[in-house]
């Protein structure tokens, strides 16, 4: 069987000087598959025959198309990865925030406070500074209560 080229070949550079392509060939009842990274020119400046063979087999338009598709896929994957990382950071931050709130609720004045509104605000806080703010308000409220007794 003559060598064939899979139609997922793509340009590695915008100037189309390096081509990534996969060939399949049947040799002595054995099918081989090889990944090639092909330069347009050989080291001595002569045209690379394999490079030209791929272009002839698939056509430049087909390679342009699969390069575009590949780029879009890679960009989508990168975007998904980025989103995943952001979500992961957000989750870890939430976990830390929750532990921080539990610790804050163990402060004696906060633990014993009957101010449901402020305690609820503290519980729903979205950040550590916000937790601190409501914690201070609860402690202040408790100290004022103590003072008026």
């Amino acid at each position: 069987m003559a060598r064939i080229w899979l139609d997922n070949a793509f340009w590695e550079t915008p100037r189309k000087e390096i081509l990534n392509a996969i060939s399949e060939e049947q040799v002595d009842n054995k099918q081989t598959r090889e990944v090639h990274k092909l330069n347009k020119l050989n080291n001595d400046g002569t045209p690379n025959e394999l490079f030209n063979e791929v272009i002839e087999f698939l056509g430049e338009e087909k390679i342009d198309e699969s390069t575009k598709k590949r780029l879009e896929r890679k960009q989508a994957e990168a975007e998904l990865d980025k989103q995943k990382k952001i979500e992961q950071e957000r989750s870890k931050k939430l976990e830390k925030l929750f532990e921080y709130k539990l610790e804050t609720f163990e402060i004696e004045e906060i633990k014993n406070s009957k101010n449901r509104l402020l305690k609820s605000k503290l519980r729903r806080s979205k950040s550590i500074p916000e937790v601190n703010l409501y914690a201070m308000m609860i402690v202040k409220d408790a100290l004022e209560d103590e003072h008026t007794k």
Binding site: K84, E87, L94, E95, F98, E106
Partner: protein, 248 residues
């Protein structure tokens, strides 16, 4: 006909951190649902003023799975059991009872996309690969049904036997049983639901958009989301909290 009573059951035993988590969870439920009836099942030694948030307190002993005992003690006709290490984040908590429909028990589902966050999902039984599909982190159940109540009692009793090497049905792989299954109340749950004749007719379902009712914080690592794009109602911190370390 009387309106069935409805309430939440939260259990905290063995470790005082769970008492802190449990009272925080109860407060967070009441932040969004002030009329919620809450039963706190906990050890007498833990109780302080924070327990005032509970409408009913039931004392338990320091059992590793007092949770199962507590579920059977519910004073309500319809009960929502919630693991203590959770936090309520959304007003839709008030809609929890709508999930009961005509089911006897409603759970959060262990799905393929969530499986990486579970310690064990697959196991061998009688040479076949089986899997857990029900997660016991939350459970809405019709406790007015005597069979459901019996189920909860059996869950506790059978788990005790399983944990103490007094019960192991044939068909499980010995090594896997000892390593993964014996300590797990999910194993008992799987057995009761799938292998015990008297419970075959119990109607078991899943919460609508069930991820919202038991959102493990680790789900966020994989960006797992509600099918309706809505925020979590109950967030589960089970994998992240240092349960054996004193909070302060």
């Amino acid at each position: 006909m009387n309106t069935p009573s409805k309430g939440f059951v939260i259990v905290a035993s063995k470790n005082s951190n769970f008492y802190i988590y449990a009272t925080n969870l109860a407060e967070s439920i009441k932040d969004f649902y002030p009329e919620a009836q809450i039963t706190l099942v906990t050890e007498e030694r833990f109780i302080d003023e924070r327990a005032d948030v509970a409408d009913t307190i039931i004392h338990c002993d320091n059992h590793y799975r007092a949770k199962l005992w507590g579920m059977a003690q519910t004073p309500y006709d319809i009960t929502m059991y919630v693991d203590a290490d959770m936090d309520c984040e959304h007003e839709d908590i008030m809609t929890v009872w709508d999930n009961m429909k005509d089911y006897d028990m409603v759970f959060h589902e262990l799905t393929k996309e969530r499986e990486k966050f579970y310690a064990v999902r697959y196991f061998d039984y009688q040479g076949k690969r089986e899997m857990y599909t029900l997660c016991g982190g939350v459970c809405l159940y019709r406790s007015s049904n005597p069979l459901v109540r019996e189920f909860m009692e059996d869950w506790f009793e059978l788990f005790n036997k399983q944990y103490n090497n007094m019960w192991k049905p044939d068909g499980f792989d010995d090594e896997q049983w000892r390593r993964d299954l014996k300590h797990f109340d999910q194993t008992t749950l799987w057995w009761l639901v799938n292998k015990v004749e008297k419970y075959k007719d119990l109607k078991i379902g899943f919460f609508h958009d069930d991820i919202r009712w038991n959102y493990f914080t680790q789900y966020g690592y994989e960006n797992l989301k509600s099918i309706e794009g809505k925020p979590p109602i109950l967030r589960h911190y089970s994998g992240s909290l240092k349960k054996d370390t004193l909070i302060v």
